[in-house]
């Protein structure tokens, strides 16, 4: 009986501790950001694995050798790589993000180390067609942005 009473007193004390914690949180600063006006610090996004992107080499061109390893490794069939005539480099590099399961099989299978996950959190489209990303165009846009030209709006 006495032990049950004492347990209840301890229980009420723990309830008060919980209430003091939420009281503290009530007046502590917010931890979220208002998305359209603020964005998350890009340093935090380094751990985010978004849609694929091509890794540029020293000159800013793609490292891809069109070996089709990623296309074969992909469980979702979301990649389409077409080799250009008379060269190793790809002509088209279409990536359907609406199918991708972000399993990283393509990243691991790539012998040239040409692809990686990007940190794009804010990818929003109105149709599924827009989720078919042209990664070569994306690479070109990034290259021109780095070189200080007028950045092209990537789709």
């Amino acid at each position: 009986m006495l032990r049950a009473l004492w347990d209840n007193v301890k229980g009420i004390y723990s309830l008060l501790v919980g209430m003091s914690i939420t009281w503290g949180f009530l007046f502590s600063p917010r931890k979220t950001v208002h998305y359209p006006r603020q964005v998350v610090d890009s340093e935090i996004l380094k751990s985010y694995r978004g849609p694929l992107e091509l890794i540029p080499d020293q000159a800013g061109a793609t490292k891809c050798i069109s070996c089709q390893m990623c296309v074969r490794a992909c469980p979702d069939n979301c990649l389409k790589v077409v080799k250009s005539e008379g060269g190793k480099n790809p002509k088209t590099w279409i990536y359907d993000f609406s199918l991708c399961c972000l399993c990283a099989a393509c990243v691991e299978s790539c012998p040239a180390g040409a692809i990686r996950f990007s940190h794009k959190v804010y990818l929003v489209t109105k149709t599924r067609e827009e989720l078919k990303l042209d990664l070569l165009a994306d690479l070109k846009a990034r290259k021109s942005a780095i070189l200080g030209n007028v950045p092209k709006k990537s789709s």
């Binding site: 209840n8 309830l15 919980g18 209430m19 914690i21 939420t22 009281w23 949180f25 009530l26 007046f27 502590s28 600063p29 917010r30 931890k31 979220t32 208002h34």
Partner: protein, 324 residues
């Protein structure tokens, strides 16, 4: 009480003002609840509609008004539409005897607390009818829980209020306020701390709020007794839930916190400030504690609150007999 024309007009005006208070209270409390929930979880809460989201509850209620009234198959039509009405209208009556200010009472009922406790039972009745008539297993389970919970928590609640009634010797709410002083150490909470604690716990159980929101536990019963209600039926349940919260807060302020009496200047602002402090407390514990299990809920009531309230009542009776 003479039923002259003047008192009739007084009741009409009081009921209209109380409807205004209920609706205004629901709008304000939806906003406050979502804001407090957001702040406790370290996010901003409603933010986009109007300045810092103040127009959000009005937009939500407009959306609710425009919703299609969806009716499930094989329901009991009369009871299904009677239940929300039955949840809403008795609450109007419950606000009548509360002394908001020294002269601001809807209806000076002699035994005001009896009226409140008697008609508060209608809330449970509407829950049963809603759960049973909507032909839904979640609804029925929620109704069954609502009955066993409300019936259980009503008893220590009445016992706690009875302890104060023993001290003041009156069931009249105005009389109970009049016997308390203006300063906090002259309020009933000082002489009846245990009754205040019991009342505080059982009012959360009585209004079906978290952590005792078993009848409408979202994760177990989707929405409990009002699962099948949409549009205005749901809105009436919602409104009456917030009105019930306000009512128990007003009763708490009247019985334990000195009612309209307060430091410096007595008036209705003290009643409202105290009632909304209790409301804030209810919201605060909702976002602090997880939901209890049903057997725990009833154990708290039958094994702790009820014996404690009986002991408290007994002690109060003995002490009052000795000193008087």
């Amino acid at each position: 009480m003479d039923l002259s024309l003047l008192s009739f007009v007084q009741i009409i005006v009081a009921v209209l003002l109380i409807i205004g208070l209920m609706v205004g209270n629901a709008v304000v409390m939806v906003y406050v609840e979502r804001k407090v929930a957001g702040f406790i979880q370290r996010r901003p809460g409603p933010y986009e509609v109007g300045p810092i989201g103040t127009v959000q509850p009005i937009c939500d209620s407009m959306k609710l008004l425009g919703k299609q009234l969806f009716v499930p198959a094989n329901i009991d039509w009369i009871l299904f539409f009677l239940a929300p009405v039955l949840a809403f209208f008795p609450v109007l009556l419950l606000f009548l005897p509360i002394p908001f200010g020294p002269y601001l009472t809807g209806l000076g009922v002699g035994d005001g607390i009896l009226l409140i406790l008697a008609f508060a039972g209608f809330g449970v009745l509407s829950n049963i009818l809603a759960g049973w008539s909507s032909n839904n297993k979640y609804g029925l389970l929620g109704a069954a829980r609502a009955v066993s919970q409300s019936v259980a928590y009503e008893i220590p609640m009445i016992m706690a209020l009875l302890a104060v009634v023993f001290m003041s010797g009156s069931l009249n709410l105005s009389e109970i306020v009049a016997q308390q002083g203006s300063w906090p150490w002259q309020w009933n909470i000082v002489v009846q701390p245990l009754a205040f604690f019991i009342y505080l716990v059982s009012l959360v159980g009585e209004t079906n709020r978290a952590p005792f929101d078993l009848p409408e536990a979202e994760s177990e019963l989707t929405a409990g007794f009002h699962t099948e209600y949409s549009g205005m039926g749901f809105a009436l349940f919602f409104l009456s839930e917030y009105a019930n919260m306000l009512l128990v807060s007003f009763v708490c302020a009247t019985f334990f916190l000195g009612g309209y009496k307060g430091p410096f200047l007595d008036g209705f602002w003290w009643t409202f400030a105290k009632a909304y402090a209790v409301m804030f407390f209810i919201v605060w514990i909702r976002w602090t504690f997880p939901r209890v299990r049903f057997d725990q809920l009833l154990n708290i009531n039958w094994k702790w609150l009820l014996p404690l309230s009986i002991i408290n009542l007994w002690l109060t009776a003995i002490i009052m007999k000795i000193i008087s």
